[in-house]
Subunit: 698 residues, 2 copies
C-alpha cells in the first residue's frame, strides 16, 4: 500500500511537472513568434520557430540515442511485453525513466506531432518498477523498507498499477487509467490487482487536483487553464435522436478504415526507419532533425494557404489573439481578421484538441481548413512516431480523429442535431477505436476527458463500429509495433493448428539435466555451454530402475549457489540444514539488468571436484505435461498459470524421466511453423482484408 501511495504520488508529480514544463516552453516559443508575426517580421519568426523546434528535437534525440535507446517511442508496447513476461533489457531502468521524462518534455514542446500519454505510461511503469525492486542498486538509490517485492508477480502487479497511474496522470482520467491497464496492458489480472490499480489512480486524481488548486492562483507561469488536458464539452442538453444515428455509424465505419490504414502505414514507416536506424546513431538523429524541420515548415507554411476570416463581433475572447492563450490567431492576417488554420496548427496539440471539441464554434472554421489540418496531422503523426525520441500516439490520434470528425460534421451540416464539437469528439473516438482497438477503457477515457456522460451511448456505438471494422483489416497498433520490435508476446488464445500438434512435436533437445547431488564442475559446464534459464533435476531412485524427476532448478539459483561456495566434499544429502549459509535475499529475483553471470564466478580446480546438494533449492513441484498432450492445451496451461518453464514428461516411463522443457519461444507461431512448414496454409484463422492487396487494385 505504501508503494502504491508513493507510485501514485510520484507519477502525478511527474505528470504535473511534465505539463507545466511543456506549457511554459511551448508557450514562450509561441509568444515570441507571435509577437514577431505581429511586427510583420515573418522570416525572423520562421527562423526562431524552426530553430527552437530543431534544438528541442535534437536534444530529445541525442539523450535518447546516447543514454537510453529504450526510451524511444511510446513505451506502451514495451511495458505491455514486460507485463506478458518479456524482460527486454533496460526497459524499466532509472536511466530510461529520466530520459523518458526529459525527452518527452522536449519532444512535445518542439511542436512535433507526438503525445505525452504513452511516455507517461512508460514513466509510471518505470517508477513502479523502481519501487518494486527497492530502488536502483547501480546508482546507490535503495530503500531498505521497500524491498518487499522480490518476485515477478508482485513486480508485474506494481508495474500494472504504474501504467494505470500514467494514463490517469496524462489525461486526468483515473477510472480510464485503471481500465486501460486492464484492457490493454495486463496479461494476467486478479481482482485484488483491480483494487490496487484503483487505489493508485485515486492518489493520482487527488494529488493532481491539489496541484491544480495551487496553480489556479496563477503561480505557474503560462500554465493556465490549458494545462492538464481536460476538454470540457458539457452542454446541459445534448439531445440526439434516431436521425443522428446514420452519421454516427458512418463516422464509426470511416474511423475503422482510417484507423487500420493508419496502423498499416505506421508499421511500414517504422520498418523503413528501422532499416535506416541500423546504419548508426547519427542516421537516427538525422531522421529526427529532418522530421523536425519538415514539421516546422508545414506548420508555418500551411496557414498561408487559407483565407483570413473576419473576427466575429460577439467573440468571447480577444480577436485576434494577443499572447499565449486565446484561439483567434492573427498570423499573417490584417487586423480584425484571424487565420483559422493557424488557430489549430500553430498551437499546442492540447489547445488544438480543445478548439476542435469546443461547442458554439460551428462558424469558426472553414471546410478547407479542416481538410488541410486532417491531412497534415495524419501524415505528421505517422512520420513522427518512429524517431529516436519519446513519442506517444494517443494525442496525435485524438487530434487527427477530431479533425476528420469535425470535417464530417461540417459536411453533414444542418441535417443533424449534433454540434460540430460533438462530431469532433466522436471522430476522435472512432479513430482511437480504429487504431488502438480498446473499448471500455477508451470509452471511459473520452468521457473523463470531455466530462460529459450524456455522450455515453453515442461513444459506445462509435467505438464498437470502428473496432469491428478495423479488426477486419489488421491488429491493434501496439501489437503491430511489438511484432516489429520482435517481442515474443504470448497470446491468450491458441491458434487452430496447435490443436493438430502434440507437445512432442515442438519440444527441442538435447536436454541438459542436473542430478540431485551434482558435481560443481558439471554444473559450471552446463551453465557455460547453454543459455537456458531452468534445468530439470533428476534422482536415481532405489525403487525403480530408471531415474526419477525431482524438480526444476533455475539458472539464477544455481549461480547463487556457486557464488556462496558452500560446497560438499562428499555426495550426501543435507536437508533443511542446507539453508544455514543462505538468506532468502540470495534467491530473490534481482532487479532488471543486474543478473549475475557464470563467467564472473571464479572457482578453483579443487572446488570444481566438490559436490552440491541441489535438493533443497529445487522447485520440487514444477508443472508438467505428458508428451502426447495437445499443444493448444499446453499453451493454455502455460499462459493462464503464467509459467516460464513447462516440463514435458514421457508417456511411458521406461525412458529418461524428462523429454524436454517448453519455454515461451517454443509457443511462438514463427517457431512452430518453422518446424512444421506444412501448417502455414492453415495459419490464417480468419479472413482479413490485406491492405497491400487493396493497394494493388488502385
Amino acid at each position: 500500500m505504501a508503494s502504491l501511495f508513493l507510485i501514485g504520488g510520484f507519477v502525478s508529480l511527474v505528470g504535473f511537472f511534465n505539463n507545466l514544463a511543456v506549457e511554459n516552453i511551448a508557450g514562450v516559443k509561441f509568444v515570441i513568434t507571435s509577437n514577431m508575426m505581429l511586427a510583420q517580421r515573418y522570416w525572423m519568426a520562421f527562423l526562431v520557430f524552426s530553430l527552437s523546434n530543431l534544438a528541442l528535437t535534437l536534444f530529445a534525440a541525442i539523450i535518447t540515442a546516447f543514454i537510453s535507446p529504450a526510451a524511444a517511442g511510446s513505451g506502451i508496447p514495451e511495458v505491455k511485453a514486460y507485463l506478458n513476461g518479456v524482460d527486454a533489457p533496460g526497459i524499466l531502468s532509472i536511466r530510461t525513466l529520466i530520459v523518458k521524462i526529459v525527452g518527452s518534455i522536449a519532444a512535445v514542446s518542439s511542436s512535433l506531432l507526438v503525445g505525452k500519454a504513452g511516455p507517461m505510461v512508460h514513466t509510471g511503469s518505470c517508477i513502479a518498477a523502481l519501487f518494486g525492486q527497492g530502488g536502483s542498486r547501480r546508482y546507490g538509490l535503495t530503500w531498505k523498507w521497500l524491498r518487499f517485492f522480490k518476485n515477478d508477480r508482485d513486480r508485474r502487479d506494481l508495474v500494472t498499477c504504474g501504467s494505470a497511474a500514467g494514463i490517469a496522470a496524462a489525461f486526468r482520467a483515473p477510472v480510464g487509467g485503471v481500465l486501460f491497464a486492464l484492457e490493454e496492458m495486463a496479461s494476467w489480472w486478479r481482482s485484488s490487482l483491480l483494487w490496487r490499480a484503483f487505489f493508485t489512480t485515486a492518489v493520482v486524481a487527488i494529488v493532481l487536483r491539489a496541484l491544480i488548486d495551487v496553480c489556479l492562483s496563477g503561480k505557474c507561469g503560462l500554465f493556465g487553464k490549458g494545462g492538464l488536458i481536460m476538454f470540457d464539452v458539457y452542454s446541459a442538453n445534448v439531445s440526439y435522436h434516431l436521425a443522428d444515428v446514420p452519421p454516427v455509424l458512418a463516422l464509426g465505419v470511416i474511423g475503422g478504415i482510417l484507423g487500420s490504414f493508419y496502423n498499416f502505414l505506421l508499421v511500414k514507416v517504422l520498418k523503413v526507419y528501422n532499416l535506416i536506424n541500423e546504419k548508426g546513431i547519427f542516421y537516427k538523429i538525422f531522421i529526427a532533425c529532418t522530421i523536425s524541420i519538415f514539421t516546422s515548415c508545414l506548420l508555418f507554411g500551411l496557414p498561408w494557404l487559407v483565407s483570413c476570416q473576419s473576427c466575429p463581433s460577439d467573440a468571447s475572447e480577444d480577436c485576434p489573439t494577443i499572447g499565449r492563450s486565446g484561439n483567434y490567431k492573427k498570423f499573417q492576417c490584417p487586423s480584425g481578421h484571424y487565420n483559422d488554420l493557424a488557430s489549430l496548427i500553430f498551437n499546442t496539440n492540447d489547445d488544438a484538441i480543445r478548439n476542435l471539441f469546443s461547442k458554439n464554434t460551428d462558424t469558426e472554421f472553414q471546410l478547407s481548413t479542416m481538410l488541410i489540418f486532417f491531412v497534415t496531422c495524419f501524415i505528421l503523426s505517422i512520420f513522427s512516431y518512429g524517431i529516436v525520441a519519446p513519442a506517444g500516439l494517443f494525442v496525435p490520434v485524438i487530434v487527427t480523429g477530431a479533425s476528420y470528425g469535425r470535417f464530417i460534421g461540417m459536411l453533414i451540416g444542418s441535417w443533424g442535431n449534433l454540434s460540430h464539437g460533438l462530431y469532433a469528439v466522436l471522430g476522435a473516438a472512432s479513430f482511437l477505436g480504429g487504431s488502438m482497438r480498446m473499448t471500455v477503457s477508451l470509452c471511459v477515457i473520452i468521457l473523463e476527458l470531455t466530462n460529459n456522460l450524456l455522450l455515453l451511448p453515442l461513444i459506445m456505438v462509435v467505438l464498437l463500429v470502428s473496432k469491428t471494422v478495423a479488426d477486419a483489416f489488421n491488429g491493434n497498433v501496439y501489437d503491430l509495433i511489438m511484432k516489429v520490435k520482435g517481442f515474443p508476446y504470448l497470446e491468450t488464445h491458441a491458434e487452430p493448428y496447435m490443436r493438430q500438434l502434440t507437445v512432442a512435436d515442438v519440444v527441442s533437445g538435447p536436454l541438459q539435466l542436473c542430478h540431485g547431488i551434482e558435481k560443481v564442475g558439471n554444473i559450471v559446464h552446463i551453465l557455460k555451454t547453454t543459455m537456458h534459464h531452468g534445468f530439470p533435476v533428476i534422482d536415481e531412485s532405489p525403487h525403480s530402475e530408471s531415474p526419477v524427476l525431482y524438480g526444476l532448478i533455475l539458472r539464477a539459483h544455481l549461480i547463487a549457489l556457486l557464488k556462496k561456495k558452500a560446497f560438499l566434499c562428499t555426495p550426501v544429502q543435507l536437508g533443511a540444514d542446507a539453508f544455514r549459509h543462505f538468506s532468502s535475499d540470495d534467491f530473490a529475483k534481482k532487479g532488471l539488468g543486474n543478473v549475475d553471470k557464470i563467467e564472473d564466478i571464479e572457482l578453483t580446480d579443487e572446488e570444481m571436484d566438490m559436490f552440491l546438494d541441489l535438493h533443497p533449492f529445487t522447485n520440487a513441484s514444477p508443472y508438467t505435461v505428458v508428451e502426447t498432450m495437445s499443444l493448444a492445451k499446453a499453451l493454455i496451461l502455460f499462459r493462464e498459470v503464467g509459467l516460464r518453464h513447462l516440463l514435458v514428461i514421457p508417456k511411458i516411463s521406461s525412458r529418461a524421466p524428462v523429454v524436454g522443457i517448453l519455454t515461451r519461444h517454443d509457443f511462438m507461431p514463427e517457431h512452430i511453423l518453422g518446424l512444421h512448414p506444412s501448417l502455414v496454409r492453415s495459419r490464417w484463422k480468419r479472413l482479413r482484408f490485406q491492405f497491400p492487396l487493396l493497394l494493388k487494385i488502385f
Copy 2:
C-alpha cells in the same frame, strides 16, 4: 454477436417493462392512498395500503415458493457461483426467469425495501443462458440457428454478458454494468469477453434510450421522469477543497463499519430464516407476510412521529404534492404544510433516493427525520432480504447509505462546502463500498447514476476507505450469502496451509477406472455405483508391464455412448470409423437440468456382454499433476485453467497409472481441514476483528 444483440435487446426490454410496471402499480397505490389521506380517511388509507402490499408480497412469495424457489433473493450469489463453475439446479431455467421478472415487479411494488438490480442481473443471466443453450427444450422453445454454444466456456461468457446487461438495464449504467460483471461476477476473464460485454451493454443503452424517447411523450401512464433510475445531481460548479476531506474520510470510515455490520446482521438473519424455512413452504410464506405487514405499519406509522414543515414559498413544485409525482407529501399535515418523512418513506425507493440526492434541498428535511429514516431502512433492508421472493440488495443499500450520508451532512452543516445532496451520494457510496466491496464498478455505477464526473475523486476516496475498513471485519455480502447457501465457490488464491500439503494428502479413493476397450456391463456398473462425472481410461501397454493412462472420459459421454447402443461383439479398436454413428450434437453439453440418467437406459443381458471402444471418445490430453505436487500449485492450475477434473499421476510409475482425480470439492477448505484437522489453527491468514467478540464487549 447475434446472441449478444438479442440478449441486450431482451434485457433492456425486460428492464424497461419492469420499471414501467413498478412505477404504475406502486404509483396507483400511492395515488389512491394519498387521495384517501387528503380526505382524512386515515384508517381506510392504511387498510388499502397494507392490504395491497400484503397481496403483492403474497403473490410474489407464492409463485416463488411453489414454482421456482431458485428465484428467491438477489440472484447475484447464484450467478456468481455459476460463473465459478457451480451448476446449482434450476438457477438459470426459464421457470426461474419468469418468476424472477413477475415476482420482482410484485415485490418492489409492494413497498418492501427490496431492490430490482439483483433480480435484473439474474434475469439477464437467465436470458443469456437460454440463448446460450438455444432455448428451453422442455417447453418446446428452441431456436435452431442459436445452437452454437454447447460448451461451458461459451455459455459462461454469455451469462457474464447477461449479468452486465442486467446492471446496465437496472441503473442505465452500461459501463458500470461491464465493470460489475468483471469485478464481482466473472471468475475467468478474457479481453474478448470485455468487448462482448461492452457490446451487450451498448445495445442495452441504446434500446433503453429509444424506449425512454417513446415514453417522454407521456404514453406510459405513471411512468414519468421517475422511471429508470437516474439521479441527476449535476451542478455546474461542484467545488471542494482540503477542508472537505476530513468529513469525507469520516463518511468512508463510518460506511465501512456500518457496511460490514450490515453484512454480519444480514447473514445472521438469513441463517435464522433458513432454519424456519426448512420447516415447510407455509412457514416461508408466513415470514414474507409478516415482513410485509411489519413494513406497512412502519411506513404508515412513522411519519406521524415527526412534526410538519411549512411549505417553502419558492418551491419549484406543488406543495403539498397532489397525485403521483412531486415530493412534498401532505400526509396528515394541515394544508400549506408537508411531512418530510412521508416524502421519503411513503414513496418508491427510487423517488426517495432522488430526494436524498437532490441539491438545493438543504432546508427540506429535519435531522430527526433523517435519523428515523436511516434506522428504518437499515432494519427493514436486513429483514426483507431473506424472504422467499425476488429481492435485490443494491437499492436498499443505496437508500440506507444516502440517508445516513445526508444525516452526517446535516450534522456537519455549514462547516463544509458540500451540499447535503452530495453527502447523500457519498454516503451511498460508502455504504455500498462497505457492504459490497467493489471499487471501480461501484465508482462508475455511482457516476453514471448521478451523471456528475466532477465527483469522481471524492467517490474514489470514500469507496477506498470504506472497503478497507470493512475488509478488516468480514467479507463481501455476496460471498457471505454464497457461504450460507453452501456453494463450493473456488477462490482465486490458495490458503497458506495448502502449501504444506501435497496433492496426495487430499485426493481420495478408491478410484473407478475404465479400460480403453471396456465391457458394457462394467461401464453400467461403474456408472450406477458412483456419482463421479469423469473416469480415467487406461490401456494395457505392450511396451510396459504396467498399464498406461490413456485419458479421461466424461460420464455424460459414456451415457451418450450407451444410449446409441453402437456396441462391438469383440474387443477391437475402431479408430475414426467409430464416429459414424454419432453427430457432434450427441456429445454437446446439455442444457442445465436436462441431464440423461443411467437409470433411464435399458440394456439387455446380451448387450451387457458386448464391448465399447472408448478411445475415440476419450479426452486423450487431460491435465495431470504428480502426486507430490504442492496442493497450492495444483489449485492454481485447477482454478486458472478452469478445470472440473484434474488427474493425479504417481511419482514412480511402478504402480497403477493414476492415483486419483481431484475435483472442485477436494479443494474446498472444509474438506481439506476435515482431513487434516491440525491445520485449522493456521487457517486464519489475516487478523479479522470478529463482530460477535465486539458485541460481547458491549
